[in-house]
Point group: C2
Chain length 241, copies 2
């Protein structure tokens, strides 16, 4: 499967087919990302202090799980899917299911600038066409989504954390995201780097859990639906000619 992927160009028309690949691929693609209420992951100058250094003088409602008990046995849940007790926005619970990370170069450079490398135990794949293959011994460089998925399949990945706006969009369009948590920060940025947009195919979601977090965050966790009804009715494969 992985060699077929590598030999075929990426095109939106293959989305439904990728959905079938996705069902067979064995690993779960997990997105966990924060945006402003208007959908930006960073300001235009890449700053996120509106997220990391929130205004503590404002009192928001406290931390509360929205749907405790509502997420029971999930039909067709994949390996490495969130369990019934995992609240939306539970980063520790999510990371316990993650054994590989995939991120774009921008996100990598942000993470590489942290005082300490935050993933000493977890293999990290960086999607980049410009970084040399030996740029950083802590990561593996992949030149394309197809190469990254090939690496993940060969590593028998289970739970894959997909990070960064461009990388999330690319994996979504290829049908490689199964679980999607979006955490909304209480601010309108007005402009910046958008998480979504750009004409991706439609994808129906199932809300699995929601919760408020500290500092006014609202977390919502979704499963990306890939059943026949979805493929026939609302997926990009039928809408994009």
């Amino acid at each position: 499967m992985s060699s077929r992927r590598q030999n075929r160009p990426v095109s939106p028309a293959r989305t439904a087919e990728n959905g079938r690949y996705a069902a067979a691929r064995g690993w779960t693609g997990i997105v966990f990302i924060a945006t402003s209420l208007d959908g930006f992951i960073a300001r235009g100058n890449n700053t996120i202090e509106w997220l990391t250094e929130p205004d503590t003088t404002v009192t928001h409602p406290g931390d509360a799980a929205l749907t405790a008990g509502a997420v029971a046995a999930i039909p067709g849940a994949r390996r490495r899917a969130a369990g019934p007790g995992e609240a939306a926005g539970d980063y520790a619970g999510l990371m316990a299911r993650v054994d590989h990370l995939v991120m774009g170069r921008n996100t990598y450079e942000t993470v590489a600038g942290f005082p300490e490398w935050p993933y000493p135990e977890t293999p990290v794949i960086v999607l980049s066409t410009s970084l040399p293959r030996d740029a950083d011994a802590r990561v593996t460089i992949a030149g394309s989504v197809a190469e990254a998925t090939d690496l993940l399949s060969r590593a028998r990945a289970g739970g894959v954390y997909i990070d960064g706006g461009q990388t999330v969009r690319a994996f979504l369009e290829e049908g490689l995201v199964d679980e999607l948590t979006v955490s909304r920060a209480p601010i309108l940025l007005g402009s910046g780097l958008p998480l979504f947009g750009g004409g991706a195919p439609e994808q129906r979601l199932r809300l699995d859990a929601a919760a408020t977090g500290p500092n006014g965050l609202v977390h919502a966790r979704y499963t990306v639906l890939r059943d026949d009804a979805g493929a026939g009715r609302g997926s990009g494969a039928t809408l994009r000619k």
Copy 2:
């Protein structure tokens, strides 16, 4: 105040000043609007059946208030503000506080196409530069935001429901929105009519309540902050030169 508004052109640089107008204006600007997870209020062809006719074969978590009891006395709450017991997404509770509606021409035309006019008891202002003043006896046409705010002040409006993407953006930019509920539907549309975007000034928000609704909706209700800290630190007035 209202005649001054009318005589001055609308410009982003006046946002902080408008914030002061807003504090004095006497009515509360309320937004209650649904979007896809990726922030679109309608498909590019204006259809919203993804919202109004959701797929009932998918089981989402049930209706649950997130922050019951968390919204206590709100410091500086305006007249017509949501009470402590009002859950996010409570349309009936919200409409009980609304005595005027403002909408754009697109929204008006959608509403006018309904089998029954849904607001027989509530004065409706339609923002339009093209509709004739006597287009529809059920509504009042206003040619600008300034004219609409003048009409609202003269009518001694209390709670004003602001509807439609362009109208919401225009009122937000003018500092005329106090309360903002966004309800996220569990779908990625990929493209369509966006609620936000277009370089509006930054605005900090306070999360007041959140809840899940039927069909996988996640409601979050915010107060638009206009205190000195906000104006000095993050508002568009200081960031837009």
